[in-house]
Amino acid sequence: MREKATTLYLGPQHPGITGNMMVKLKVEGDTIQSASTHVGYLHRGFEKLMERRNWLQSFTILCRICVPEPDPNEENFARAVESIEGREVPERAKWIRAMVLELARIGTYLLWFAGQSGSAGLYTMGQWSIGDRDYILDLFEELTGGRIYHMYIWPGGVRRDLPKGFKDKVLQTMDYLEKRLVQYDKLMFDNTIFQKRAKGIGWIDPAKAIEWGVVGAPLRAAGIASDVRKDDPYEIYDKLDFELGHATTSDVWGRSQVRRFEIEQSINMVRQIMDKMPEGEYYNRIPNPMKWEVPPGEAYVKTESARGEFGFYVVSDGSNKPRRVHVKGPAYVHAVTLLEDLLKGANISDVSFIMNSLGTCPPEIER
């Protein structure tokens, strides 16, 4: 019997949608016939605004591009400007940056735990992991002065040195999180129902994954070891000892395992960084910000964010304002074309589940 297809609008006001976007589904029964992503609900025109702001002023609005994990934006912009300008970054600043990025990754993964399990109805996990993420935010507050928007990594280095006693606090938090991970495992990853929900859902063809523009954990879950930190090492990632998450199932379960593995790696990396971080300067001072002109040039820089390759294309025409800053977040591909493909034939129950597994973050699609 053929049922009549109904149109289901998932979002923008919908608890199952990450952020503020809409997925328009053509549904027959519980099966999705076709899906299309509608974005723009968060469009602020950052790229335009940056054309009006000078290089330093641009730095402050950048972190708003991706709210859950603002640091890769700052990192990208800083590195792009440094690369155009040829500005040296002190060694210590590089280590601090890597530490910030890893902490941000842990925080984002914790948030992802909440999203992934919450979209499957396991709310306890979200209550735990977001609560625990708050300890990372506390660290950020201590380090940068802001919980969410750090505005910390800027061209030339980082904004402030580590505060006194920060190292111990970081290590304590890492120990705490490691202990909590055991609980997470028990609740989420060992859970039969979660496994049943996750296995075989949202399958990405490994042979096509690269071509479709899949990056980050979903790509690694497809058995392709690809990570900007390894492929195109920035900062001090070539001096750190870490492994990439690996799975071959290429489904939500695989992605979950990759992330689960990497959060542990990140905790380890933070420990390594705290151990090896050299003393010294942390900031190579920029000129007077109002008169700071960056020589003409361009750079495409990328950072491995928690969701995958995060790219910034920055062009300078030699003036004190950027000519063009183009932001390409992983969700730009994941949440539009890839999501539309993956949702075809899926169950409506899995929409939110799949979206979360891809790391959808609407603000970075729309900017």
Binding site: R52, R53, N54, L56, Q57, T60, I61, T124, G131, D138, E141, E142, L143, T144, G145, G146, Y149, M151, R159, R160, P163, Q183, D185, K186, L187, M188, D190, N191, T192, I193, Q195, Y283, R285, I286, P287, N288, P289, M290, K291, W292
Partner: protein, 595 residues
């Protein structure tokens, strides 16, 4: 999967034991977790420390910060009188305003909650709206982290031993690169323009340099100062004392940047080409100017531009007055000054050299043959030192020494010179004496830090091995039977706080009397004007009070036809004040004659 995954059932259930754990909830509002030491909360502005430079307002890309007048805050020198007000409906708590605040008065506090049902309540004047914020500062910016560039680009200087060998310029001045870098430190607050007697457009010409538009910079300087290069080398630069950056660091080298810009025009012709002034057609009015010093030259230049027929009467062979004859050539080379004067001549300023008014031409003639007269005679006559034995041979006023040296003479000062005084003239005398081959001692009554001379000059003197004896009061000059100076008797002094609250006074220490053997004593206590060229008739017309001509704020004396400016009028007695007087007089003369 196994047939029945027991682990997958038991493990999740085992986490229920968390029920027994104490919740880690922060029980706000019962307990308020204190924010971190760096938390970027609401702003706090120390209203006393704030100078109203408005840099916070400029950096704010959200245009959240307005500069407003507060009722109880008046502007003063180095303080615009404005204070920032934050529109918290725009603020994004990036704290860039804190990072660029040159004084460090603007900081962020730990106040993290701001709630209101009134949307208009979010205009927030930091420091006024939250006086309690003072004690809970959190995100602050010190000299190390501030985005204000507090370190001046070092000025290349000649080595100490090299310097005393000649009268070559000791400052080597900025290269293009250094100048751009230094200019880019400027935050363009314009506090300096208020202190500059001439109100030069300082931020504008510095920004022009920063942007690489040196010619525009020259044009801006020439807008109200025709002796920019001279000022660039020897100005007393009071502007730098109020520079927003000097509160916590080094002031922008305004003077040297001006020098840099002006030195781009190497000859008078190039200068003319660059400035390319708009000369108005002759209007038939004639102006006579007595004295070719900075005041006279300035008045002459701008009057000429406005179409007046200007004649300057200069007593000496070269124009420039005290700037030409009172400043040693290692600070201000003759070529530099002549270049500027040549340029003035090229646009129609007439200068009659070697024409001393009162001797070669009577003031009466000038008065009668011109529609207006500007008197810029300056202070030429040195004060006496005022101690016993100063009539002796070998006691010379510093001004005379400088005049002689600048006129090409090389007087013999003997092996050891003592200079009495602590002003720029004293230092000049001392450094010139070093170049003439003598050992030099400067005696000054107070401490080194009290010396009115520029610190750069004092440093220069120290580099050139001038011995500075602070807290030393000369009491008698000792001379031999030929009335030739042989020594100087002096007392050491200690600084006593003034009971009346004034600055500390030196009080001689009893029994500290000593004698130093010297060959020359140079007095640099100060100068006064010489009004001998004015007949009694004019002396009566022009009111003279304590050696200075009395003028109104238009530089007009009691005789409306006579305008006056320069050292002979104003107390500050420096070149830039004289230029300012000249410039002001031009406007007044124009207004008075062309009304």
């Amino acid at each position: 999967m196994a047939f029945f995954d027991i682990k997958g059932l038991v493990n999740p259930l085992s986490t229920l034991k968390q029920f027994g754990n104490k919740p880690h909830t922060v029980e706000y509002p019962k307990k308020h977790k204190e924010t971190a030491d760096r938390y970027r909360g609401l702003h706090f502005n120390d209203l006393e420390a704030c100078i109203g430079c408005g840099n916070c307002s400029t950096i704010c890309m959200n245009e959240a910060i307005d500069m407003i007048h507060l009722d109880n805050i008046e502007g003063s020198e180095g303080d615009s009188g404005l204070r920032p007000r934050v529109d918290n409906g725009r603020c994004c708590w990036c704290a860039l305003c804190v990072e660029v605040c040159p004084t460090g008065s603007l900081n962020m506090t730990k106040q993290d909650i701001f709630i209101s049902s009134d949307a208009d309540a979010f205009l927030w004047t930091p420091g006024v709206s939250n006086p309690e914020g003072k004690d809970i500062l959190s995100f602050t910016s010190d000299e190390k982290t501030s985005l204000s560039l507090f370190d001046r680009v070092p000025m290349p200087e000649m080595e100490g031993e090299e310097r005393v060998k000649s009268f070559a310029e000791t400052m080597l001045y900025y290269t293009e690169e250094a100048a751009r870098e230094e200019a880019s430190r400027c935050i363009s607050c314009s506090l300096c323009t208020e202190v500059c007697p001439d109100h030069m457009h300082i931020p504008e010409y510095i920004n022009a340099i920063a942007r690489g538009e040196d010619e525009d910079s020259i044009r801006i300087i020439y807008d109200n100062n025709p002796l920019g290069e001279m000022c660039g080398k020897v100005c007393t630069r009071r502007c730098e004392d109020v520079c927003a950056l000097q509160v916590r660091g080094d002031a922008v080298a305004i003077r040297w940047l001006k020098e840099y810009a002006m030195s781009r025009a190497e000859t008078a012709d190039i200068l003319k080409e660059i400035v390319n002034p708009d000369i108005q057609p002759a209007n038939g009015k004639k102006i006579g100017i007595v004295g070719g010093g900075p005041a006279g030259l300035t008045a002459g230049y701008y009057l000429a531009l406005k179409g007046f027929d200007v004649t300057i009467f200069e007593a000496n062979e070269y124009a420039g007055g005290m700037v030409m004859y009172g400043i040693p050539k290692y600070r201000l080379p003759m070529d530099s000054l002549n270049k500027q004067i040549d340029y003035m001549k090229s646009i129609g300023v007439k200068i009659q050299f070697n024409t001393k008014v009162g001797k070669d031409i009577s003031f009466d003639d000038i008065y009668k043959n011109h529609d207006a007269v500007f008197v810029g005679v300056g202070f030429q006559k040195p004060y006496n030192i005022g101690i016993d034995g100063e009539e002796a041979n070998g006691v010379i006023p510093a001004v005379s020494l400088l005049f002689d040296v600048n006129s090409g003479k090389t007087p013999d000062l003997g092996h050891k010179v003592v200079v009495i005084g602590g002003g720029n003239v004293a230092i000049d005398g001392a450094r010139v004496s070093r170049r003439l081959g003598s050992e030099v001692v400067i005696m000054y009554r107070r401490r080194v830090e009290d010396m009115p001379a520029d610190w750069e000059e004092i440093e220069g003197a120290e580099v050139e091995a001038v011995d500075i004896m602070p807290q030393t009061i000369p009491i008698e000059i000792i001379s031999d039977e030929n009335n030739k100076v042989t020594g100087i008797k002096y007392l050491k002094a200690e600084m006593k706080a003034d009971a009346g609250g004034g600055r500390p006074r030196p009080v001689p220490i009893e029994g500290s009397e000593a004698i130093m053997e010297v060959s020359t004593v140079i007095g640099a206590i100060g100068q006064e004007a010489d009004y001998s060229f004015l007949s009694d008739e004019y002396m009566n017309k022009i009111e003279i009070n304590r050696g200075r001509m009395v003028v109104n704020d238009q530089q007009q004396t009691k005789d409306p036809k006579i305008f006056a400016g320069g050292d002979a009028v104003n107390r500050t007695a420096d070149a830039i004040s004289a230029i300012a007087d000249g410039y002001r007089a031009v406007k007044a003369i124009e207004k008075w004659l062309m009304k």
